[in-house]
């Protein structure tokens, strides 16, 4: 693997994870607009949108960050070993 190939792999991964992040975050205002009552329906005693934006999105950020960092560092390590 050349460094250009690794860079392309990293960019592809970044774009994929960024797309997941952006869609999950920026779809919320639109869902709030179109299906307000469903978004504020209580789940575990908390309005769903509060639970999703206030807690679940943070957990999604952590997962994205760990996946990206683990794979990126592994690829760079493999390149250095070659």
């Amino acid at each position: 693997m050349t460094y250009e190939q690794m860079q392309a792999k990293q960019l592809k991964l970044s774009v994929l994870l960024a797309a997941i992040f952006l869609v999950s975050m920026f779809s919320v205002p639109f869902l709030n607009k179109t299906m307000t009552e469903a978004m504020i329906a209580p789940v575990l005693g908390i309005p769903f949108v509060w639970l999703f934006v206030g807690i679940l999105l943070h957990i999604e950020f952590w997962i994205i960050a760990v996946v990206y960092t683990t794979l990126s560092n592994r690829w760079e390590g493999e390149l250095a070993d070659e």
Binding site: L11, F21, G45, V53, G54, A80
Partner: protein, 543 residues
């Protein structure tokens, strides 16, 4: 509750944090020997330490007190702040942090110069670093006085002078090395202050029940009341017993079920624009970006960002909980007033913490002071590096010795520290939230597009970079001026300025790259290569 009346426990807590910070900061000065120590802490900061320091640098008093207060006042739309502020670190991690560290410089203007071989772009980088950091530091210094007065009873003027003086002193002597240690400590004080009182409050009040009160109610907000548990309308009063908000002011805040519904503060367009500013702005703040230069390599810069997301995530998850408790639990003394008799909603966390005991209030006061110290110290480093390193050392007097550069660095910190104190004393009535929001919008419209494209697009040119950064910044300025002049109500420029900056970079780079000589293209390629080749640093070392 404030009104100049000294509050012993919070005052002692504030003094403790100040003394601890000063002692540790000045002690670290012994380890600050080289310019690399002064600007990037010798590039020797570990993952845990840097993640704590970055978190602390980022979490200003606006986050510590303001986000919870915004939830308290505006309901769900405040929760966007709690998540949007953290979300920016995802883009920073995916596109910016590790290549920026691998490039191996001191400042963002360094990147502007090194990537495009352009002194003109370095100058523009200095300009926007100063604009963004100045907007941010003015807001912080105004907040310093307000906060010190509210939490300790120390008069506003003395609050600005004492805190400003302490910060300037330890930053001037310790540089980034001193700031790193103190910021790490300040973060854990802040997180403790956010979480521990909630463990007392949670068993006392059922969180979901509090939210469901608002869900079921279609009229005025009702609360169980602190004493007696009798449901009664919350009437926010000053300590003199007068209404904290006029009827017209009250209409600005959502009530009843509207409090838990989206769009209590912004419409759809405003919500999306706010999110763009928060997400992209975080990835363009010079005082945050500079901290990634302190890691030993790119791999550690990545892991630092992961831990920042965890640390500030834990912090921000608590802010809607604080806001909800405040909304539903507060008694009649809901709002403290300042010397001028104006209500200060940002102190609602202090009042709410009373419900967990007097010691909790002291803890919150310590956290608030730590938040101010950490952010202002990071901003002072960013401002002084723009002047002493980028302007003096790289433009004005390129042959300066390291000793001369070190003297310039210390003088720059003292100069900007004194200016910050002066400005803080002058702009007492400045709208803090608006200025911080503006700093985010400008950062999102200038440095973020420049860095994202400059790092990932080989054919980006100097001309494209200048077009993008200037257009993004100018659109932000025009929107703000139009709002101030009451030409329009629109106040969130990011939804227009960020795409415009990207578009300008793309179009102008496309038009100008073909006119570059082979030598110029090679220079761009070499700089691009240095950003991504793991063999160009020790990035492959396991973090």
């Amino acid at each position: 509750m404030s009104n100049g009346e000294i509050q012993l426990l919070p005052l002692l807590a504030a003094i403790f944090v100040l003394l601890l910070t000063m002692v540790i900061g000045l002690h670290s000065a012994k380890r600050t020997k080289t310019l690399s120590d002064y600007w990037v802490a010798g590039r020797n900061v570990g993952v845990f330490t840097n993640a704590s320091a970055i978190s602390s640098n980022y979490l200003s008093a606006a986050s510590f007190l303001g986000v919870a207060a915004f939830v308290w006042a505006n309901g769900f739309d405040g929760v966007w702040y709690a998540t949007g502020f953290a979300a920016g670190y995802i883009l920073l991690l995916l596109f910016i942090a590790s290549p920026l560290r691998r490039f191996g410089q001191y400042t963002i203007p360094d990147f502007c110069h090194g990537r495009f071989h352009s002194y003109r772009l370095r100058q523009i980088g200095i300009l926007w670093t100063v604009v963004i950091s100045a907007l941010y530091i003015i807001a912080q210094m105004v907040g310093v006085g307000t906060l010190m007065e509210a939490v300790t009873g120390v008069p506003w003027v003395w609050g600005v002078i004492i805190l400003g003086g302490v910060i300037t002193l330890y930053v001037a002597f310790g540089g980034m090395t001193g700031v790193t240690v103190t910021q790490m400590l300040q973060f854990w004080i802040m997180l403790t202050a956010m979480i521990v009182p909630l463990f007392i409050l949670m068993p006392k009040h059922n969180y979901s029940e509090l939210l469901l009160h608002a869900y079921r109610d279609t009229g005025q907000v009702v609360a169980p009341g602190v004493a007696g548990g009798v449901e009664e309308p919350v009437e926010l009063l000053t300590v003199e017993g007068t209404a904290a908000f006029s009827d017209a002011e009250k209409e600005r805040f959502p009530t009843g079920r509207d409090w838990i519904r989206p769009f209590g503060k912004w419409n759809l367009f405003g919500s999306v624009s706010l999110l763009i500013a928060l997400v992209c702005g975080t990835a363009g703040l010079p005082h945050i970006l500079a901290r990634f230069y302190t890691n030993p390599n790119a791999a550690k810069a990545r892991w630092s960002t992961v831990w920042v997301l965890v640390f500030i995530g834990l912090f921000y998850i608590t802010t809607p909980i604080w806001g909800t408790y405040a909304r539903m639990v507060l008694g009649p003394e809901a709002v403290m007033v300042n010397e001028a008799g104006q209500p200060n909603p940002n102190t609602m966390m202090l009042i709410t913490s009373f419900d967990a005991g007097e010691w909790a209030k002291a803890l919150v006061a310590a956290g608030a002071i730590a938040a101010l110290l950490s952010t202002v110290s990071g901003l002072l480093i960013a401002l002084s590096s723009a002047f002493a390193h980028d302007f003096y050392g790289e433009i004005l007097y390129r042959n300066a010795s390291d000793k001369q550069k070190m003297i310039a660095a210390k003088l720059a910190v003292i100069l900007f520290g004194a200016a910050a104190i002066g400005i803080g004393l002058t702009f007492r009535d400045a709208n803090i939230a608006w200025m911080v929001g503006l700093a985010f919008a400008v950062a999102a419209s200038t440095f973020f597009p420049l860095l994202a494209c400059g790092i990932w697009w080989r054919r980006m040119t100097e001309q494209g970079a200048i077009a993008g950064i200037m257009l993004g910044g100018l659109i932000s300025a025009v929107v703000v001026i139009g709002k101030l002049a009451k030409v329009w109500e629109f106040e969130q420029p990011a939804v227009i300025s960020v795409p415009a900056a990207f578009l300008a970079i793309y179009v102008v780079s496309k038009l100008t790259y073909s006119k570059h000589t082979d030598e110029q293209r090679d220079e761009l390629d070499i700089a691009f290569h240095a950003l991504h080749d793991p063999n160009s640093d020790d990035a492959v070392e396991e973090a």
